[in-house]
Amino acid sequence: MSGEARTGSTGGLAAGAPRRRPGWVTVARKEFADHVNSVRLTIVIGLLALTAIAAVYAAAGQIRDVASEATGDPSLFLRLFVLEFGDTAFDFTFFTFVSLVGPLLGIVFGFDAVNSERSERTLPRLVAQPIYRDDIINGKFVAGLSVIALVLAGLTAVVAGVGIVRLGIVPTPVDIARLVSWLVLSIVYVGFWLAFALLCSVLLRRAATSALTAIGVWIVASLFATFIVQIVADTFAPVPEQPTAQEALANVRLRQTLGRFSPGFLYEEAASAILTPEIRTLGFSLSLLDPRAVPSRLSLPQSLSIVWPQTVALVALTIGAFAIAYVVFMREEIRA
């Protein structure tokens, strides 16, 4: 629908016309109200809150166990979010929890965004209003992202609150700054899944198909991606029984490169570095083998600068997914 491009055709009339709010704001407000009043929000919040509180409760217990040796640890508060808990065969931390379950949040608020307008037959009515067609999809994305931001912020606040009460540690301003940076990163990550679900809702006519597709991709991406990456890496950079350093390194490097195509992997890398000041470098480094490396802590700007590439990649993936959904939506015929 190139004809609906924002050309200056209405510019002349705008002067005399009353000031109107842009269409996407109106659409976003309505969608936001719909989300907030929806049953699915209640369900998702219930699920997430239960898991999150259980997770942080366990982490807090462990922190108490190690508290004696951790006394004087300046970032004890952040341990809440990064400490592995439970059976450590599976390194489960609060941020891996967000990385695993966060996509669900994105999918829930996006999978039926456009196809439900079709099945309820409200789309023809909506596009006949004096708004640009992209106002519809932009408004829906903004509304979804706002709800996601609210839920994530609320969840983080609850977890922090539980931690403060149970541990009796008060976060320092720097802790809070790190937590906020992590929150922003998490919103971008869940935003990727929102954009992906939105794409499914544009491409697939039935809401159920769209939800199944999005959830399927999410499960494959979060559970099997590691296996797939490992198989590919072992095929192209095999590691013999007595590997040389070079062979081992090649395998690890390839695994990492492949992994960085996955939003979940990017997110976990960046989140761990933001929440753990001790992480000095991302990816494989030999510094651990170097006895001269002095364990020290990075400042927040330093931490942010090492996660910058991951953050940019994540933003790019999100924008890319949304852009595809946008273009497909704009080019589609309204009927059919």
Binding site: M1, S2, G3, E4, T7, S9, T10, L13, A17, P18, R20, R21, G23, T26, V27, K30, D34, N37, E120, R121, T122, P124, R125, L126, V127, A128, Q129, P130, I131, Y132, E333, I334, R335
Partner: protein, 315 residues
């Protein structure tokens, strides 16, 4: 300047190799009710979408209120109200909330919107269920809400796509009366599409017959009738008494061409309006005519002819 508010010149839409609309030339005058009639799949909805700038013509052009719907889609949509084919609403929102959303999209200020929506709900007879979720509405109520919805922006042109579909006869009457009132009371130009001729013929000032993407004829119902059948006319005659005798009598009337029995009625085709002669003849034969109706000028007849003529082209 003519008073035409909708003009199409050679308007054409292709989907792949199929021609949905084939070089359509139309003019709709300000303040009239114009009927776009034709069987399903004739290209009515496609035409309507092109007029609203929701679909781009493959060829030719359309002008709505002097604007190009493709280039100035927003301005056209600001001034044209549209009721889509089998309209839908957000089921969890009430009728009032649905209309309020559309009012906001049209930049109607708050109190003005509230007043207007109250009025429109009253107009379409939905004041009572206005605050119930539209999921509980019947099809007819949704259709009437759809008309209110199209009127929220206070349009100059109202485009109604199949406004009477899936509605019971009483509801149809109400909707047609509403359309008439809108034309007479508000001076709104109405373009309506339908495949149900019986239902809309009485409300349309002019009609265009549309078959397989082509405009086969247009004009007032009488004009179409004259063009089609000349002065030839068809009547239905119902007689109390022996129909065989009656048929013989009528056949003997000068000007009558054929008499066919159809479900207890005699269908008479004649060169001219010979109703008085027929009546006189029947009276002389002491037969009582209990029913006499002219058929020829009815749209249904016309439409059936066109429809049959192009039979097979229609998908």
């Amino acid at each position: 300047m003519s008073s035409a508010v909708i003009v199409t010149e050679g308007l054409t839409k292709r989907y792949g190799s199929t021609l949905a609309v084939d070089h359509l030339d139309l003019q709709v005058e300000r303040g009239e009710v114009f009927g776009l009639l034709g069987p399903n799949g004739a290209g009515k909805t496609t035409t309507v979408l092109m007029l609203l700038g929701l679909s781009e013509p493959s060829e030719g052009r359309a002008t709505v209120l002097g604007l190009d719907p493709t280039r100035q889609a927003l301005e056209v949509k600001r001034r044209v109200g549209y009721l889509p084919d089998s309209v839908g609403f957000y089921e969890r929102l009430s009728g009032r909330q649905n209309l309020a959303f559309v009012a906001r999209l049209n930049g109607v200020p708050g109190d003005e919107a509230e007043r207007r929506i109250g009025e429109l709900l009253e107009l379409v007879g939905l004041s009572e269920p206005a605050d119930e979720p539209t999921g509980t509405y019947s099809r007819g109520m949704l259709q009437r809400l759809g008309i209110a919805d199209a009127l929220v922006k206070d349009p100059e042109i109202l485009v109604l796509d199949e406004p009477t579909i899936a509605i019971d006869p009483q509801g149809v009457g109400e909707i047609l009366q509403l359309i008439r009132d809108l034309r007479d009371g508000r001076g709104v130009t109405v373009l309506l599409s339908s495949h149900l001729l019986y239902q809309v013929q009485e409300v349309c000032d002019r009609v265009a017959i549309f078959v397989a993407g082509r405009l086969v004829s247009h004009g007032t119902v009488e004009e179409l009738s004259r063009r089609l059948v000349g002065n030839r006319q068809t009547f239905e005659v119902g007689v109390r008494g022996d129909p065989e005798v009656a048929a013989r009598e009528i056949r003997a009337t000068p000007g009558v061409e054929t008499v066919v029995r159809e479900r207890g009625l005699l269908v008479v085709a004649a060169e001219d309006d010979v109703r008085p002669q027929i009546l006189a003849r029947l009276q002389a034969a002491e037969l009582q005519a209990v029913h006499l109706r002219q058929r020829g000028s009815e749209l249904d007849e016309i439409y059936r002819r066109y429809f049959e003529r192009s039979h097979g082209d229609v998908g």
